[in-house]
Symmetry: D2
Subunit: 330 residues, 4 copies
């Protein structure tokens, strides 16, 4: 029997989750719930998906109606709203997933497939961590589990706004650093992998395509670049792009995603710029791109399977997800 998934909050993440659910052979989308009623809802309504609203007014029903007919709700509502909705999901006994805008405490479990799939099995709920944190755990969690990482220090360049909302407010011809150091991503990554020693600084930059991270790290032992790269390239959710092939900037990488026919040009992988990956004297340097709109989509799909206890092995679920989303091993 397919897993019946409802999506609450049809924004940047919600619409991608809804589409990704429909691409999985073991899941079905039972409905979408959103408070808004504009062209965005119109698109998915025209595709025949039942549309709910929190109160149910002028829709197929209320959030409660949708949740009651689902095995699991993926809550992609704005920061803080999902924490309130959790009460309803618990009352109904429906499993749920919240996104990285919520605090760890909302579910008591934080999810990145590589790291915490096993501990999520059959839980009532989990939190898929934010785009930046997901990328950090994929990269530095892998190095730590391989026994290579002592500590990492990163600078995170954050796109100021998503494209769809870029007429509503943003930054123009400036840089806006986060005044507080460390920025929240380091501590957040420790909710998934407490052994990570990370400090991050963050700055908003005037572009809409995605984030970019620049890292320096101290390694354990004195591994070669090949050894480090082998650990990273073992994950299909870490990709390498090369400036020498014309893929040395965010816009080019996004264009490649569109050319590949990826829905909305989504980049699900952490895209490490190959040439920047430098290992010498026990130190590592690298720069990578994070598509903040897309990177958590495969993790969310895996989290569905983990909570439902459908696949016991992270690797099996990840392979199914990757295949459905055309994330290739390389």
């Amino acid at each position: 029997m397919t897993i019946r998934v409802g999506v609450n909050g049809y924004g940047v993440i919600g619409k991608r989750v809804a589409d990704a659910v429909r691409l999985q052979t073991d899941m079905e989308l039972v409905g979408v719930c959103d408070i808004a009623d504009d062209w965005r809802i119109g698109v998915v309504r025209d595709q025949g998906v039942p549309i709910y609203s929190p109160s149910g007014a002028a829709r197929a029903g209320s959030l409660e109606d949708m949740a009651a007919g689902a095995d699991l709700v993926v809550d992609c509502t704005p920061k803080g709203v999902a924490a309130k909705n959790a009460v309803l999901y618990r009352k109904l006994g429906v499993k749920f997933i919240v996104q990285g805008g919520e605090k760890h405490e909302v579910t008591g479990h934080s999810f990145v497939a590589d790291a915490t799939y096993a501990s999520a099995l059959n839980r009532p709920s989990t939190r898929v961590v934010s785009c930046n944190t997901t990328s950090i755990v994929r990269v530095f969690g892998a190095l730590r589990r391989a026994g290579l990482l002592r500590r990492a220090r990163g600078t995170l360049l954050r796109r100021a706004l998503d494209p769809w909302e870029s007429h509503l407010g943003g930054i123009m011809n400036t840089l806006v650093p986060e005044a507080h150091v460390p920025s929240h991503q380091g501590p957040d990554a420790q909710t998934v992998d407490p052994a990570l020693d990370l400090v991050t600084m963050a700055v908003k930059v005037p572009e809409t395509l995605g984030h970019m991270h620049f890292w320096s790290a101290d390694l354990t032992g004195d591994p070669t670049r090949d050894e480090v790269r082998a650990v990273l390239s073992a994950s299909p959710r870490i990709a390498f792009v090369r400036e020498s092939e014309g893929l040395g900037a965010l816009n080019a990488v996004k264009e490649r995603m569109l050319d590949l026919g990826r829905p909305r040009g989504d980049l699900y992988e952490v895209a490490i710029l190959e040439e920047t990956l430098t290992v010498a004297n026990g130190e590592l340097f690298c720069a990578y791109m994070v598509d903040n709109q897309a990177i958590v989509i495969p993790e969310t799909i895996d989290a569905v399977r983990a909570l439902m206890g459908r696949e016991q092995e992270a690797a099996v679920s990840m392979r199914m997800t990757n295949q459905a989303l055309a994330i290739a091993a390389r």
Copy 2:
């Protein structure tokens, strides 16, 4: 028998033409020819399309080889190159289409489906005019043929660069007007519809999403807004978007195209901002968006059919193209 089409020049237009050809039931893509060999060519090669190069070095063959195996070549090479290739196409007796960067004289015929399909029938070649000119002929050609237009004066805001190349050179935090008035689009539209009385001014703006036109026009007679709108909405390649639905800016319109699953988020239609369409006292005002990467794609497909003489009626070809590209009547 399907029309065998080769595409020479695999850039912004070429790759879209290649994909659109593959979506037509009466056409097949026999190959792509390009001088470059980077990630962009890699994507289409991985899809199993034969790749040619001008000289044939390290490829399936030369441009001549590709052209010899095709009924028609769509030449999407940079400005001025197609004019030289025309000599080869003529020598081989293969039909060909050039794009709007070339002069009218290269083929002696300029193409917008609404206006010049009939005169293109069975010709050896034609030129699909530029994105801006295509939009102008669609909108003001329709009004003129309906007997409503006396003259139009427009300001064209041109995106400074396409997204894929936006790391290579552009403009930042400034506006760059074209010093020469009129800009070339007015005279260019007259190569398709000589009866149009148009003057345009142009300015480069710091964004990558597409062009936007602002027009004031003097009408003939004193038509109502409804009469004018009826003429425009008769064409499925003119769409209306509404600010009241959240579609009042370029980025939102593009997001909608991505949400609709359009390849690369392409907008094939002229998208008139409904609220700006104002008709009073014999004058018309309106603003519309032009997706410079996509608008000429349906015209190019129609031009293929016209040159090959496959469909005698513009309306029939346009309906086939629209259906294949999911351009809806509305």
Copy 3:
């Protein structure tokens, strides 16, 4: 005796007015009033200017105190606030000037030096119209008074945000047209010159340097370009810049202002791009730049003199202002 001027609202316009007042030999700055207390106020306080606040808390005194010690208050507070302050100014019998964000009705008189200096003489108050309207009246008012203008239709590209606030909200990689046609500038210009036949459309563009207007106009008679240019160049507040000299874009014009040592790089003039000024067959086309932060400063200084009745002739006041601000006849 010098005119004692107080400035209420120390933002983009207020700080420039305060500085300009201090440059006039017949005026003195008696104080600045603002609700904020951040680095901006700190700069002018460090210059020894008395600082007031609406309530007077922790300052030299209240707005009422400042107004009571002034002959005239220039109110540069945000839209709508000045309308309320007018009650106080009237109660105190102090003359006042509001800015273009306020409605004409607040003072019953709208000011552009060229057009309405005479009717402002000895009035209790006036409104200096907005940057865009000021530019329109300078250019098209001059043509109309010369008997050359029948009507003008314009597209106004508006900088989305001022530089100082560009980290707070803006637009990114998009264009945002005003959905309503006509935009307000046309009717607003008629509050100064009711005989102007103008229609404008407006669009927000992602830059911070200033506005740019593109116009087509129908002329009366069939004047030559030289005749039209002579009318425009008669005003020292209309400047011509040339692409052929490297001044064909907003950023280059602003750089020139900085190089000239203008305070804050301010451009007080309407800067017409010489090459775009085209006159043929009774039509005129042109493009010009408007520095929205600076263009109303000289008008405000002239308005002070007009209300105080110090100079009876607009030309005399304008010459004094121009000299103090280094606006050269050319």
Copy 4:
């Protein structure tokens, strides 16, 4: 007797050096030499400064003529040109300064006032290092000389283009990382202070206002934040700006410079964002702004005095320069 200074190359740096020389009581500007003849040269010619050109055609004379009449030439020509001009300066026996685009070997000496004033005394020539390197030596050189620094790792966000040229080419809505790690600034800083252990990564960002650096450093001993801050604030060329006062982004800091009446809004100081300066567990984190157009101007003035042997003490020259440029101790 005043030092006679000629400036060769009247671009972003050259024009600022020329203006700064004119502000020093112990220097005079004998001329400016440039190959171009556009509005930029026009401004300085109108100020009565003799204009030379490399060949002397249609000018006051040739570069050789200008150099022959000078005690010292500051060469601000584009990268690589000054290296060729050095032959002429040496032939004429005139002292000279090159900018950071040139290699250390061109003069055999690299200059930052804090670090290498003494070794520059009476030399025939020196190189004022680049904007980024100057900032690095000011900050980390100070910490190293205080015995506090073990090593520093930095991410440098580079403005893609200067404002004056931002219509000519830039980057739009993307980030362009430097593929090579380390970027050149670390090794370059060692030409001034060989004991610095630095690695930098760099990325071009779509803004024009200046650079921004983000650093993590390992300290020697376990100093408090106060101890570290005391070392940094001892230099008047390191300033602290506070987000809590509204100065948390590049654009706001630049606006403050304009409000202060600084010529062209120049920021000569490294501007550390106070709140980001974090010291804990032997590590330091901080972010600062570098005005790439202005930061090397005071160093260049000091370099003039050092080469001429006018002031024996760095501190004395720096105080003179700071006073002339209104760089305040704080």
